[in-house]
Each structure stands twice: as C-alpha cells, then as structure tokens.
Amino acid sequence: MKDSSWQQSLLVVCIAGFWIGALVAFCRALLAHLFSLMPYSLPLLIMEAGIACNVAFWVSPMVHEPKMVWAFLLGLFAQSAILFPFHVGYIFILPYHWTALVTILGAWIGMTLGSAENHSLSDGDE
C-alpha cells in the first residue's frame, strides 16, 4: 500500500467518522443532561455539524483526492452516533432522523477549509 492509496483515506475517514459519532453521542447526552436540549434539535444539529467540520479540517491532510468524496463518506460514518446507546438502562438506541445528515455538510466545509489551508501553506513554502 502506498502513501497515496485510497485504503489509507478510507481508514482515516472510517476512524474519524466513528470518532465524530462518539463525540456527537457524547454531546447529545451531555446537552440533554445539562440543558434539556433534545437530540436533533437545531442547536444540537449545529453543534454536530461543527464537530464534523472541525474533525474534517483536522484530518484533511491525511486524506487524498477527491476530498469531497471522502468528506461525504466521513459524514456518513458520523451517523455511527446512533450505535452508541443513549443510556444503559430503560433506554434505547435513539431513533434516527435524516437531519443528522447535517454532518455531511459540516464535513464538506471542514475538508474544503482544510485543503484550502494546505494549498496556501504549500504556496507559501514555494
């Protein structure tokens, strides 16, 4: 496997996507606990997109072209948030809602910003 192989990008996107999922699950539980914010409410969706954006920005240098495809996959892997049960007892896996796909948008923005910054840094080096 070479450094530029798609397998490496897939690996990064998979782990990073699951990490976003874990962070999103954490936020859903924490904000519901602290401020009674419901999962899939607007503030939480914005926060989820923000998390996806930040992680995508950070892993952007490890992912190769076409970045938009990998950003899309990253957003899809972030749906793994649903696999982290909300609580251990009397509770459930949260019902899925399509609005959670907002992470794809966040990942796109983060990946675009990340690659733009990489380009500007490499231009600066030249």
Binding site: F18, A22, L83, F84, V88, I93
Partner: protein, 318 residues
Amino acid sequence: MLVGGKRQQTSFLNLLRQPLPALQAFLFCPGHTSAPGVYPLLLLAPLGFLPLLAPDALIFGLPSYALIALSERPIMRELGYWHSSLVLPWLMVANAIAWGRLLRWEQTFSPPHRTQWHQLLALYCLTCLLFSAWRYGLPTVHRFTHHTLPPEQAQAIRALLNRLITPDASVSATSSLVPLLAHRREIYLFPNPFQPFMWGASKEAVKEQMGQKKFPPLPPNRFLQQVMQTPVEFIALMPRTHLGPLRKTDYTALALSVLTCPAYGVIAAQDGVIILRRGADFLLGLRRLGVDASAFSEPQNLFEAVRERWRQLMGEVQ
C-alpha cells in the same frame, strides 16, 4: 430457550435450520432493562467497535455470546451481572489484536502523518471510554451500590443477627440479609416459605424470575394463615433496602401481615432491621416496634398503627 436444556443437539440443528430468526435473536436480543439490540452495542461501544476488526479472535467468544443472547432470561444481558464476563475476555483479546493491526497500518502513512494517526486513534478510544464510563459504567455501579450501608451500620446489623438468631434456627429473611444468615440448614428468601415465590428449580420459578408470571400476594387473611401454619423460627425484615424479588407494595403488604401476626413477636427493631421470633411476646414486640397495642381496642386500628409505623421506618413519613 433456543439453546440449552436436555436437547442441545436439536436446539443447535434448529439454529442451522432457521438461520435468519436465529441471527435476528442473536443481534436484537432484548435485555431486562434495555431495548432489543442494545446489548451487543453496550459490549462494543466502550471499545469503539474496534474488536470487529479482529473477527478471527472474536469468533472464539461466539459460543459464549450465543449462550447469553439466545437465553430466555433477559437478566443475562444486563451489564452489571457476571454473565457478560464470559464474552469480555474475547472482546479484550480482539481489541488488542485490532489495535495491533491499526498501528501496523501506520506504515502506509508518510512520517508527518503517523503522529496524527496515533492521535486520532487515541482520541477516538478516549472519547468512547469516557462516554461509556459516564453513560453505562456509573449507572450500572450505582444500581448495585444504591443500598450499600455505611460499614458501622453493616457491622452492627451482622452483630445483631449473630447475637439474636441461633445458628441452627430456620429463618425467612429479606434478600439483603440472606447472605449474612445463609450458613444454616433452613434459610428462605422472604416471603418464602409462607408464600412460595421463585421457589426451587421449577418452571414456575423460572417464569417468575423472567417476569412472565407476576407475583400476586395472597389476601392478608390467607397469608396470615400460612404464617401461622408454617413453623419458621425467625423472620428478619429490613424496610429500607433492596426488597427484591418483591415490589415495594407487595413487600409492605406481606410485612404488615407478619408484624400483626400474634404467632410472632418482635424481639429487636434496631439498625434498620426488624427481627421476629415465633412464640415471642406479641404485645411486647409491638412496643419494641414503637406501637403501643394497649391503646387500640379494634384490630383494624392496630393494623393502621403498625402500617403508619412501617411507613416511618421506610422513610415515607416523618
């Protein structure tokens, strides 16, 4: 039960003949308090689902997992009980192998990205661990330590039981007190043996354990009759503790019947424990409990007074 029992071979063949229902039962097994499908996720989520990257190791845990997932007893699929320990070692081995594989893949990264890859893995695992500890670990620990007494009170209760209950006497006791009194020939989990509940190795007992059969407490007169006829020497009650397998309302109803039964008298009511002895002075016992029976001419009034005192002992009223 799909697996186990006397005809394991038939059960195993049934699994092979009906793979889809078996797979569904395998993945969407309901727990005692958790919804169908949550149990496998609860096992994998704390490890970030990484053990799935080492299916060659995970497969060794499959028979143990099948035993738990296909069991008719949902309690086996609760994290706090020991049953999950049959699967956990294989999950840990698979997790270690998965980590090894993920770290070996770092060779595919260019040197500047290797550190970032390590950081990504570490952050992912840390997030999963922290989230699981908070959402699954703490509630599970709390569930099992909710009724833990301060060491001084526990020691006082043990001393009280040892002092007042002779080693060879038969006892019917609340579940929290049973382990302290278990080293004897006859020890019963209250309300046994007066009213059999989860009694012995019977089909009925299994149904009651699984919650398929509810516990209907006997009418007070009938239960009182059973108490009078069953020669158990001591009864040990504890109002403020884990009252299982009974619900609080059922436990209260039966405890009130016992406390107002003239065949038994309270010989001690201290440190949160009430000990009754067969043949002990009933009226004196009520005074020890804090109820002056001489003030009541009607049995119904006495019953109400005992009920009020019981509610105080349970902490429901001041």
